[in-house]
Point group: none
Chain length 233, copies 4
DNA sequence: AATGAATGAGCTTTCATTCAT
DNA sequence: CATGAATGAAAGCTCATTCAT
C-alpha cells in the first residue's frame, strides 16, 4: 500500500516518474510530497539556470530550497531526475508565457494570423529577455546531458507547429489562406522563425531592433505566401 | 637555424635556455607534434561527441587515441584547450562539406540561386546524416561550455549569411532579384532555413523525404519572394 | 536559535538560504566539528612530522585519523590550511611545555634569573626529547612551505625575547643587573642559547650530558655578564 | 670497461655516489662527465634556490643546463641525488666565502681573535645577503627532504666549531685566553652567534644595523669571557 | 520524515623516470 | 652519448549518494 520508495530504482535515469499521490481520497500527508517536490524543482531551476547543471552541486539545490541534502533524495532518485523535472518546469514557463492557444483559433484573415504570430514571437522574446538563462537551460543543458531530454524540446516544437498547422488548415478551409500550401512544412517554418533571434539571444547578443526587423521581414514574406492569389490571375 | 618547433602554446615549457650541446641526440620530430595533435583531436572528437564534453574524462581521450594520459598534456595545456580544437575541427568539417564559396557567385537567376541554396542545404544534411553527433557537438556542447566557443559558431552563421547577402545584393544589382528586400534579414533567414531539418536531425529523427519536402516548400517561398514582380500585375 | 555552528571557514558552504523546515532531523552536533578538527590536526601532526608536509598525501592524514579523505575536506579547505593548524598545534605544545610566564617575574638576583633560564632551557630540551619531530616541524617544515608560517615562528622567538628583555630591565631597575647592557640584544642571545642544543637534537644527536654542560657554561657566562661589577675593581 | 651505468641502482636514494672517473691516467672522455655533472649541479643550484626543490621539475634543471632531460639521468640517478650534490655545492660556497682557515691561527690576543670572529660573521652575513636563497636551501630544503642531508649541515657546524675550539686551545696554551674555560662548549656557542642573524635573514628580515649591534654585543661578552682575569684579582 | 555527516570514486593535472632513436 | 617523447602513478580536491540518528 502506498509505496513511494524512490531510491531503490537504481541509479540511472528510468523513464519519468510522476506516479506519486494520484490515488484520490486520502487527505493526510498527501500534499506535502508534492509541495516539497515543487519546492525542490524551483530551487533547482534557479541554481541550474544560474550556474549550469554540471556545475551545480546537490548541496546548492538543497540550500536554495532551505532543506537538507538528504531530503532532496527522499523526493528524487538522482540529480539527473531532478533535471528532468526542471526541464519540464522550464517548458511550462514557456508555454505559460506564450499562451499560444489564446492567440490561435480566432484569426479570420491572413493579417490577423500574422498578428497572432507576431504576438507569439514577441512573448517568446520577452520571456528570454526576462530569463536569459532559461533558453540556455532548455536548448543547451538539456541537450548536452541527455538525448531524451532533447526529445522533449522537440516535442514542444512539434506541438507548437501542430497548433499552427491547425490554424493554417482552418484558414485554408475558411478560404482566406491559399490552398496550394504544404501546411505541415509551413507550420514548422513559422515556428522556426524565432530561431535566429533565439540563437542570438543564446549567445549573448540581444538587439531588440534587429529582432523586430527580422520578425517584420519574415512576417511580410509569410503574409505574401499565405495570401490568396490576387484576383487578377 | 631553421625555424622548426611547432609545439603548442606550451604553457609549461620554459624557454629552452641555452642552446649549447644540442648537436647530437634524437632529432626533434618535425611532423610528430602535428600528427599527435591531430590524433588527439580526432580521438577527443569521437569521445566528446559520443558522451559529451563534461562526461568525458581525459583518460578516455587518451585511451581512444591509444596513448597515455600524460601524453595528452604534452600537446594540450588543458582539457578545455582540447575542446577548442575539437570545435574548430568540427567547423572545418562543416565548411569542407558545404563548400559554400564554390556554390555562390555564379547564379544569374533566381532559379539558379535557389538551386545553389538547395545544394548547400543538401550538403549540410548529408553531413549531419553521416556524422549525426557533429551537430550536437557544435550546437550544444560548444555553447554549453563557454561563451567564447559559442561566439565562434555564431560567427560561422554570420559569415555564411554574409556570403548569402552578398549574393542577394549581386542579384539585386544585376536586376534579377527584386530590389525592395531587406537582404540582411533575408540572408539570415535563408541560412536558418536548414534549422527545422537540423533540429529534427539533432534529435534523432532522420526523414529524408520530409526533409526534401521542407526544403522544397521553403525554397518555393523563397523563389517567390525574390523574383521580380511579374510585369503584368 | 542560539549561535551554534562552529564549522570551519567553509569556503564551499553557501549560506544556508532559508531556515524553514529545519525543525526535525538529526540535530547538528555541537561538539563534533571541534572534535573532528582536533582529530584531523593530530593525525596530520603525526604524519607531517613523520614524513614531511610535501611528502604526505591527504589520504595518509585521513587514514591516520581513521576517516575518509572527503571528510578531511569537510573540516579544512585545503591541505595547506591543515598545516596552518598543525603548526599552531605545535606552537601550543611548546608554550604549554615551557610555561615561561610562570618562570619569569619573580627573580630577585642574577642567580635566580639564571636558574629560571636554566629551567626554561631544560623544559625545552625535555619537550624535544619527548617529541623530536616537533622541532623539525616548526623549524624546517613551517619555514619551507610558507613565509607566513615562518613569521609565526619568528614571532614566537620575538615574544619570548621580549619577555626575557622585560625581566632584564626589571633587574636593571631593581639594581641587581648591571645597567650598561643592551637588554634587547642580550634577550635574543639568551633565547638563542638553546640553539646549539636544539640543532643537535634536530639532527638526531641527543646527549643530555653534553647539553647540560653547554647550558651550564653559557649560563655561567651570562651570569658574569649580568652581575654588577664587583665593588673592588 | 669502465662501468658507469648509474640507472639500475633502483629508484630511491642510495648513499652518495662519487665513484665516477677517479681511476687516473685515462685522458679521453674523462673530463666531460665531470664537467657535465658540474654543469648540472650548478643549474640545479640555481633553480632549486629560486623555486625550491619540490617545486622544481627536472625539466627545469635540464633546460637551465641547456641539455635534455634524459641527459640529466645519465649523470645522476635521481632528482634526490642531484640535491645531494647541490647541498654540497652550497656548503662549498659557504666555506669559500668565509675562508675560515685564513682567519684563524694568527691571533695573538683576545682582541685579535674577536676581530677574526667578527670578520667571519661579516662574511657569512655578506654571503646570505648576496644569495639569500642559499640559506633557505641549506637550512630548510635540505632538512625537510632528508635527515641525512641535515647531518651534513651539522657536520659543517661541527667542523667550524672544531676549528674555533683549536684556536681557543691555542690561545689558552699561549696564555692569552683564561684557562678555566670549556673550549668545546664555547666554540659551539661562538659559531652559533650568527644564529639569530641568520634566522632573521631566513625569514626575510634583513637589518644590517641590528645585526651589527647584535654581533658587537655578543663579541663584547665573548671578549670579557675569554680575557684573562684582571691582574688585581 | 528529515537531516547533515560521511564517504569513495573519480576528476584534472603534474612530473620523475624510461627508452627508442 | 644525447635526446625528448612517452608514460603512469599519484596528487589534491569535489560531490552524488548513503545512512545513522
Amino acid at each position: 500500500m502506498g509505496g513511494r520508495r524512490l531510491r531503490p530504482q537504481g541509479r540511472r535515469h528510468q523513464g519519468r516518474g510522476r506516479e506519486i499521490a494520484s490515488r484520490t481520497g486520502r487527505p493526510p500527508q498527501h500534499e506535502l510530497p508534492l509541495r516539497r517536490r515543487r519546492q525542490i524543482i524551483e530551487a533547482a531551476y534557479e541554481v541550474f539556470t544560474a550556474q549550469g547543471y554540471e556545475a551545480t552541486a546537490i548541496s546548492a539545490v538543497a540550500a536554495r530550497a532551505g532543506i537538507g541534502q538528504g531530503t532532496v533524495y527522499r523526493y528524487f532518485g538522482s540529480k539527473r531526475e531532478i533535471l528532468d523535472h526542471v526541464i519540464d518546469f522550464g517548458i511550462e514557463k514557456v508555454m505559460a508565457s506564450v499562451q499560444l492557444p489564446e492567440l490561435l483559433g480566432t484569426a479570420t484573415s491572413v493579417a490577423e494570423l500574422t498578428d497572432a504570430v507576431r504576438s507569439a514571437a514577441d512573448r517568446v522574446y520577452d520571456l528570454v529577455e526576462r530569463e536569459p538563462q532559461l533558453l540556455r537551460l532548455l536548448l543547451v543543458e538539456a541537450g548536452a546531458i541527455d538525448p531524451e531530454l532533447a526529445q522533449r524540446l522537440l516535442g514542444l516544437e512539434a506541438i507548437t507547429a501542430a497548433l499552427v498547422a491547425a490554424e493554417l488548415t482552418r484558414g485554408v478551409d475558411a478560404g482566406w489562406i491559399r490552398p496550394d500550401l504544404d501546411t505541415g512544412v509551413l507550420s514548422h517554418a513559422i515556428v522556426m522563425m524565432v530561431g535566429p533571434g533565439l540563437l542570438r539571444q543564446l549567445h549573448g547578443v540581444s538587439d531588440p531592433h534587429e529582432r523586430r526587423r527580422t520578425t517584420a521581414t519574415l512576417l511580410h514574406l509569410l503574409e505574401k505566401a499565405l495570401r490568396l492569389p490576387s484576383v487578377a490571375s
